[in-house]
């Protein structure tokens, strides 16, 4: 059976065998989530995704959103699936059931998202953004704000967005000019222009609730003077009924490279002086609120990019098994030899195993972060909570920046496996690549992610998070070392981890020296090598589990026994695939990572020293 969107066996492997998600059910908070429940949730997410959402992926891309006189129309097919997602209660899976969530572990919500987001991420942005906006209300809202908005957002009855960007304030949010003036009734009159607002206006829900960053009159310049407001498209009266249109006007939507099904809007607030909002959180603390939500939002973007890669990989494998082209290389001189499936060609196999290793490593990393988030929620004490929160902090730029970089690379290779068919619209590959591209840009460009890792996260809490992370990796290395077949794999990963530690020390020190500019010119390469080492860790972890299982199935780990087991048993084939992914990455990619690490420690300053005029053009 050809897999669609994602490989179910791999999802189950990460959930049950690698992260042992069932252990969460020992805690009261997640007591309902035993293996059967977890499997049922993933099965139904896949069901809904494959049968209902996936068929809208291409239609949504071709039809796109339309704008006419302030009204945004989404693709026709999105209405039915929006209702299905809403009725199925998939909008706010990990949130409190009291407010319309399902109290699900974040790890499981990511697995369900693997299918749902993977089926059509431009569509899933509508409920995804609604969830994120609702989370802001839950964390920072007053009881009244929660009563008025939260349940309707978490259940998808109303949609949500996030209004940060302005024409002059993109990566530099502190430069925003939207203003808020306090009224006598405690509300604020909001005025400003926002751009690049995903889902800023659409026809899927009865109301749209916009958390808006604006500066209260007289507040300090820069990020210290920014506050967060809750601004509904249609005013919500104190009794919950809908009032008047709140002067949030969509003035246009962008024509984009990808994610055509999601309306990227320009919004004018208070153009007629009639836009009101209520303060969300405290005055001038808007950026703090945003930062608290940022890790989750960035993890979601990592998931979006990743699902494009996961789709690209399963499509490419299925295609390579069916597409016949060219003789087997060993039969090249045989005139009578028939064309073989392209999966038999060494160069195609190289592309496929590269995609496979990255997709598997990325899935493990993202779910691992979900598990860290669950551990924060059930931590027995503050020290444990701090540890897992620290791991989330340090891994977030990797989960967003590195994952989306590599996801795009996987999509590109997927196009390559399809050859000319990958480049034409009839096949899904070019859309995946176009859709994926935005994930490297929004929610903090990957350059910002790299600077976040080097400038904030490395030295955070005196380096405790990075030390905790290295400690976790060492546990995996120790477990792999006792398996003779994986001993050298583990040694290679250990060397890379130690080298990464050196590189981090060097770059951290350089960032504190007069060569700070050169250090930051290597921030992105540093993110890159950090991500590579995280992949190696995850793949080694997977291989250690797989080798143990394989030994049980095959009787031993020698080549012949493994080969026989693979022929007879599909689980053995899966485990063999895990060992080979690790082998490929450790022996074919990690050596390249070594080279990249060497370049970082050299910290050549050409990028900084080159005069602007010398760039030519």
């Amino acid at each position: 059976m050809a897999q669609m969107i994602a490989d179910r066996r791999d999802i189950d492997f990460v959930l049950h065998e690698q992260l042992q998600i069932e252990t969460l059910s020992k805690h009261e908070r997640f007591a309902d989530f035993n293996k059967k429940t977890i499997d049922m949730v993933v099965t139904e997410a896949r069901n809904l995704a494959v049968k209902e959402i996936l068929p809208t992926q291409k239609i949504g891309d071709e039809e796109g959103c339309r704008f006419d006189a302030g009204v945004v129309t989404t693709p026709e097919s999105f209405h039915r699936i929006y209702d299905l997602v809403k009725e199925g209660e998939w909008v706010a899976m990990p949130e409190d059931p009291e407010w319309g969530g399902q109290g699900m572990p974040q790890t499981l919500a990511l697995a369900a998202g693997d299918y749902l987001v993977g089926a059509n991420f431009s569509f899933m942005m509508y409920p995804g953004l609604t969830h994120g906006a609702g989370k802001l209300v839950e964390e920072f809202g007053t009881e009244k704000q929660k009563q008025l908005f939260l349940k309707k957002m978490y259940t998808g009855e109303w949609a949500g967005t996030m209004l940060l960007t302005e024409p002059q304030a993109g990566s530099d949010v502190g430069a925003l000019t939207s203003t808020a003036v306090k009224n006598d009734d405690g509300t604020y009159s909001i005025t400003g222009n926002k751009i690049f607002i995903s889902g800023g206006e659409h026809d899927l829900a009865g109301n749209i609730i916009h958390p808006v960053l604006a500066r209260i009159e007289g507040a300090p310049q820069g990020t210290r003077g920014i506050s967060l407001f809750l601004v509904p498209k249609i005013w919500v009266n104190d009794d919950g009924s809908l009032g008047e249109f709140n002067d949030v006007v969509c003035t246009g939507i962008e024509e984009k490279m990808g994610i055509h099904g999601n309306a990227t809007c320009s919004l004018t607030l208070g153009g007629k002086g009639k836009c009101r909002g209520t303060l969300l959180g405290k005055e001038n603390k808007g950026m703090r609120a945003m930062f608290l939500m940022m890790n989750e939002a960035r993890l979601l973007v990592g998931l979006q990019g990743f699902t494009c890669a996961s789709n690209a990989y399963v499509n490419a494998v299925n295609y390579a098994r069916e597409r016949k082209q060219g003789k087997n290389l060993l039969q090249a001189m045989n005139e009578n030899a028939e064309a073989v499936a392209i999966i038999q060609h060494p160069d195609v196999r190289r592309q496929l195993i590269h995609m496979k290793a990255l997709v598997e490593g990325m899935r493990s990393l993202l779910y691992y972060m979900g598990m860290c988030s669950d551990q924060v929620n059930i931590a027995k004490d503050e020290a444990e909570k701090d540890k897992y929160q620290g791991l989330i902090e340090i891994l977030t730029p990797v989960a967003k920046g590195y994952v989306t970089d590599r996801a795009f690379e996987v999509c590109s290779q997927g196009v390559q496996v399809y050859g000319g068919y990958g480049y034409i619209r009839e096949y899904p590959m070019e859309q995946l690549m176009r859709d994926c591209r935005i994930t490297m840009i929004y929610e903090g460009t990957n350059g910002i992610q790299a600077m976040d890792l080097l400038g904030r996260k490395l030295g955070m809490k005196k380096g405790k998070p990075i030390m905790d992370l290295l400690g976790e990796i060492q546990k995996t290395i120790a477990a792999a070392k006792v398996i003779p077949a994986l001993q050298d794999y583990a040694v290679q990963v250990e060397k890379a981890v130690n080298k990464l530690g050196e590189v981090a020390m060097h770059l951290g020190a350089t960032a504190m020296s007069p060569n700070v500019m050169s250090a930051f010119a290597f921030a992105h390469p540093f993110l890159d090598v950090t991500g590579d080492v995280m992949m190696a860790w995850m793949l080694l972890w997977r291989a250690a589990i797989a080798a143990t299982q394989m030994e049980k199935l095959a009787g031993s780990l020698d080549a012949e026994a493994r080969s026989k087991a693979v022929e007879k048993n599909k689980n053995a084939a899966f485990y063999e695939g895990q060992i080979r992914s690790a082998e490929y990455f450790i022996y074919s990619i990690l050596p390249v990572t070594w080279g990249k690490m060497k370049a970082i420690t050299t910290t050549n300053s050409a990028a900084v020293d080159i005069p602007e005029a010398a760039f030519g053009a």
């Binding site: 059976m1 309902d32 035993n34 429940t37 049922m40 139904e44 009725e87 199925g88 209660e89 899976m93």
Partner: protein, 256 residues
């Protein structure tokens, strides 16, 4: 109104099936079982009836332990209660035995309406519904594409799809059994909160030993793939290339 819905767990029609070496049965991937599509229509129809009037809705399935997944899925869709009639065998399930088990359970439960899919997508016998009706001496309508309850007369009006594109209109006295054809409704998906309820719901489990069954001499003697009498041909290329080649083939065939 008391409704019983019969659901069968079937092997995913898209999953690979291999004939066992002894040719007596097939090997199947243990994680590739789903609810019979036709039974989804039955579950949905029962939920819709319950939405219109005071009713309770039970769902029942016959099979080994794994079939609890489809009972729980039906509860996730909205059923009130689930009954699992356990079988010892994981292989071929004789429709006489399945119907006898269901009838044995339902006999003293005073159900007003029993719904099932018109057939299962694996065996496609279409027998369990009518056989259950026979065992219970109830009126039965098969291949139903619409139904309408008339509470005041205790009857149900149904429209059946029959051969030749014709339709049959019947009225049945309740209690009755209907087997539903595709297209009667659009089955809903389970909601998360109902699934969570379903996963912890204590199902009613009936052991096989608790029912004395007559002997039904129906068994599998051999399984084989049908002989290949004609071959399909895949046309590849761009839509234009495919169309051109197809036109060429049609011209050649017509000329012949």
């Amino acid at each position: 109104m008391k409704i019983l819905v019969c659901v069968k767990q079937v092997y995913d029609p898209d999953a690979p099936v291999r004939i066992r070496d002894d040719a007596k049965w097939v090997t199947m991937d243990e994680d590739a079982f789903v609810m019979n599509r036709f039974d989804e229509f039955a579950v949905e129809e029962a939920i819709r009836i319950r939405e219109q009037m005071q009713a309770t809705m039970d769902v029942i399935s016959v099979g080994p332990d794994r079939v609890t997944a489809v009972i729980r899925r039906a509860i996730g869709m909205g059923a009130d209660h689930g009954i699992h009639l356990i079988t010892r065998s994981d292989g071929y399930q004789n429709p006489f035995e399945t119907a006898a088990r269901i009838a044995g359970y339902a006999r003293d439960k005073s159900y007003d309406l029993i719904l099932a899919g018109v057939m299962s997508v694996d065996d496609m016998n279409g027998m369990v519904g009518p056989l259950t009706a026979e065992f219970l001496h109830l009126p039965c309508a098969t291949s139903v594409i619409s139904c309408h309850l008339i509470p005041e007369s205790g009857r149900i009006r149904v429209e059946r799809e029959i051969e030749g594109g014709l339709r049959d209109h019947l009225e049945l006295q309740l209690p009755a059994i209907l087997t539903l054809q595709s297209g009667i409704n659009q089955p809903r998906y389970p909601s998360l909160s109902k699934m969570l309820r379903a996963s912890s719901y204590r199902l009613e489990v009936i052991e096989p030993d608790s029912v004395a069954l007559p002997s039904f001499p129906l068994s599998v003697t051999q399984i084989s793939l049908p002989d290949k009498t004609r071959a399909g041909r895949m046309i590849t290329g761009t839509p234009q290339e495919k169309a051109r080649e197809l036109v060429g083939i049609l011209k050649t065939r017509l000329a012949a």
